[in-house]
Amino acid sequence: MQRSINRDIDTVMKYAPDSFPADNKAELQTTYHRGYGLYKATCTGAGCHGASDHGRDTIPFFNLLQLDNYEASAKKHDPENHAVTAKLSPDQLSDILSFLFLRTLSRQVVAQQAKDKTEKK
């Protein structure tokens, strides 16, 4: 998983603007790792969103609308859905969502790269 995280970060960074400072990359990596750790600890219980299966990453790629809606309900302490988030501090919730956002973004970047390649051919 660790390698997968670093790969995601690298993928996103390729598309980052030139002005994006290296320090921010380090910060991004820290947030991403933290978000992953928190996700694993709080979101992968029985019947919830799995983190790995036989060593393979099985975290869903939530689309941005899903993440946005989830963020809204979690911040509003929706007890019906994902009560565990009520325990999290705002910063921790933000870390998890950043991780999921970045993960989705990396997949979009990969898809875009593949599309670009096909079009070139």
Binding site: A41, S73, S89
Partner: protein
């Protein structure tokens, strides 16, 4: 529509014309109050168009505190009534205020949330909000400028809600309001009927203690018994398990644990608390290793400094522009600092520690210095396993331990709370003071029950007020601090400050953002005179009335007695006897709590 007709036809340039409009507004208000139970619950934001208390409010709601403040422009009956007091009255402006109000009612008809009323669930949450507003808003004149109407409107609401209750029990017979509830409600109505119509003479204390709060408890029990589920964000700010409005767990508050949010084990929490306490007293967090949190937030002085108007700056020469606020009960604010700059306790602590004129700490250096102490290093390393995703000890761990430590002093209750819980009697003078607080003295319209701070029930946002605090006690000019304006520039936010709590106020002098007043008597005099405006200062956007409150000497004494009844029974601890030893010898001369 009758009101619109009246405005269109009445001769508004005459006193008689204005009086007839006032009467029609009063009659419309009574009708509005009869359905307030639903309107306020279903769409609290749009309700501001129907009966908003202020023309413009910049709001940062609890659930959207990550966003920039929203501008809410109000309309409706309260503003129309206030407009009638202006010197120049234009019929069109008056009509617009009422027309906006009528338009807003259409939103309720169209709103999707109304379909939820097909189940019994939302009734109990609407009822909870109604009961809460009985204690906090409806009786204070918050949105009823003609205070002669406060109690008649209250009576009307309590009377009309009986019809809602009857309809509910008929429609949802499997989850009824029990006889015990209905009987107590009937008694409440009888109580209000027997009370004087003047809200200054109304017994707010008994009303809340004997009727509103017990009804609130019954409603909460019903929410639990019927396993009522809400799908409305409006309901999530109140804890379903709190059986009293005066329970300290009433609102969902700040997160004191920070990165340790998932820790439940008392032994581990004790360790976080122990480390947090050491750090609170440790000047290692400042660049010169001479200033700690406890330098200004002195624990035995209710975590403030009662000896200085404002604290010294880092340079030991100048003074800070603002008074040190108490950290007791700070967890019940949804925006922090007097200007509402921060949304989390940890962000607030980080700001103070890194602020160049306060502690001037550098984040990386702080972590290195803290970890140079074996005691800290061992403790934080052991605690690391409780913070998933954190691979090494960081500033976040340090800040979270500190906020967890000082927050534990916010859970104590005051004699006033115990009286509300019928665990002890409150003396007559304090009761009189509370009744004045909620009426003639107009305190309760900004310092809301139950925390007596600016958090608007039901924990929807923080109020910022412009009261015209002077720069000096001669009232030569207004304080130059622009307050909320620095964070969010708008004409309404100039010189506005977050309303602080009245809890423990006797022990947290000096008062106001700049610590200008040193006694509660001086504060009361200031309010009694009508704030800065009342003392002749030019405060164009003052949110406090510039008129005198006409409080008598006895009334002021009673108000202070009430405030004293809000002194919480807190057991403060002694400072740690020593600080952790560092491997860096130069750090081992630092003193517990710092040097200035």
């Amino acid at each position: 529509m009758r009101l619109l007709d009246e405005i269109q036809t009445a001769p508004i340039s005459t006193d008689a014309g204005l009086e007839s409009i006032r009467k029609e507004i009063a009659a419309t208000r009574l009708k509005l109050k009869a359905i307030d139970f639903w309107l306020r619950y279903l769409e609290p934001i749009d309700y501001k168009k129907i009966n908003g208390p202020l023309p413009v409010e910049w709001e940062t709601e609890v659930f959207e505190k990550w966003e920039k403040p929203y501008k809410r422009e109000a309309a409706g009956l309260t503003l129309a009534e206030l407009y009638l007091d202006e010197e120049m009255i234009e019929r069109d402006t008056l009509l617009k205020l009422i027309q906006l109000s009528i338009d807003a009612t259409k939103i309720f008809t169209a709103d999707s949330i109304t379909r939820h009323l097909a189940t019994p669930d939302h009734f109990f949450f609407a009822n909870r909000l109604f009961l809460m507003n009985l204690a906090t808003v409806y009786t204070t004149g918050f949105e009823c400028p003609n205070t002669e109407n406060v109690i008649p409107e209250l009576h009307n609401m309590i009377s009309e809600v009986k019809m809602i209750y009857a309809c509910f029990n008929k429609s949802f017979s499997a989850t009824p309001l029990p006889d015990a509830y209905l009987g107590l409600h009937e008694n409440m109505l009888a109580f209000v009927t027997a009370q004087p119509q003047d809200f200054a003479q109304f017994d707010h204390f008994t009303f809340i203690k004997d009727y509103v709060n017990p009804l609130f408890a019954l409603n909460q029990q019903l929410i639990q018994r019927y396993k009522v589920v809400s799908r409305s964000f409006n309901d999530y700010s109140i804890n379903n398990n709190a059986l009293s409005i005066f329970d300290k767990s009433f609102y969902r508050m700040q997160h004191p644990k920070g990165v340790y949010s998932l820790v439940e084990d008392p032994t581990v929490l004790n360790e976080i608390d122990r480390i947090g306490k050491l750090l609170f007293y440790d000047p290692i967090l400042s660049t010169n290793n001479m200033r700690s949190c406890a330098s200004c937030h002195i624990p035995k002085q209710y975590f403030t400094d009662t000896t200085a108007q404002t604290a010294l700056q880092f340079d030991r020469q100048q003074r800070l522009p603002r008074n040190t606020p108490s950290l007791v009960n700070v967890i019940y604010n949804h925006l922090l600092m007097l200007d509402g700059k921060h949304i989390s306790l940890q962000a607030q602590a980080k700001d103070v520690i890194s602020n160049l004129i306060e502690m001037a700490g550098n984040e990386k250096e702080i972590v290195a210095k803290v970890l140079s102490c074996k005691e800290y290093k061992t403790a934080f390393k052991k605690l690391l396993k409780y913070t998933p995703g954190e691979t090494e000890v960081s500033n976040r761990h340090i800040l979270s331990a500190i906020t967890f430590y000082y927050s534990k002093f916010s859970y104590s209750v005051a004699p006033f709370d115990e009286a509300m819980h019928k665990q002890q009697q409150l003396d007559e003078q304090s009761k009189t003071g509370f009744n004045l607080f909620m009426s003639k003295a107009e305190c309760g319209t900004c310092h809301f029950v139950p925390f007596f701070n600016g958090v608007k029930p039901p924990y929807v946002g923080s109020e910022f007020e412009v009261i015209g605090v002077p720069a000096d006690t001669n009232f030569s000019r207004i304080s130059p601090d622009s307050g909320r304006y620095k964070i969010h520039p708008a004409s309404e936010t100039l010189n506005a400050f977050r309303t602080g709590t009245v809890r423990n106020i006797e022990h947290t002098k000096p008062y106001m953002h700049n610590g200008i007043f040193n006694s509660l008597e001086a504060v009361l005099e200031f309010y009694n005179a009508g704030g800065g405006q009342g003392r002749g200062l030019d405060v164009a956007n003052q949110t406090l009335s510039g008129d005198s409150l006409h409080l008598t000497a006895d009334e002021k004494i009673a108000l202070i007695a009430f405030m004293q009844s809000l002194n919480e029974k807190i057991t403060f601890e002694n400072p740690p006897p020593r600080l952790p030893v560092s491997s860096n010898e130069t750090l081992n001369t630092r003193k517990v709590a710092g040097e200035y």
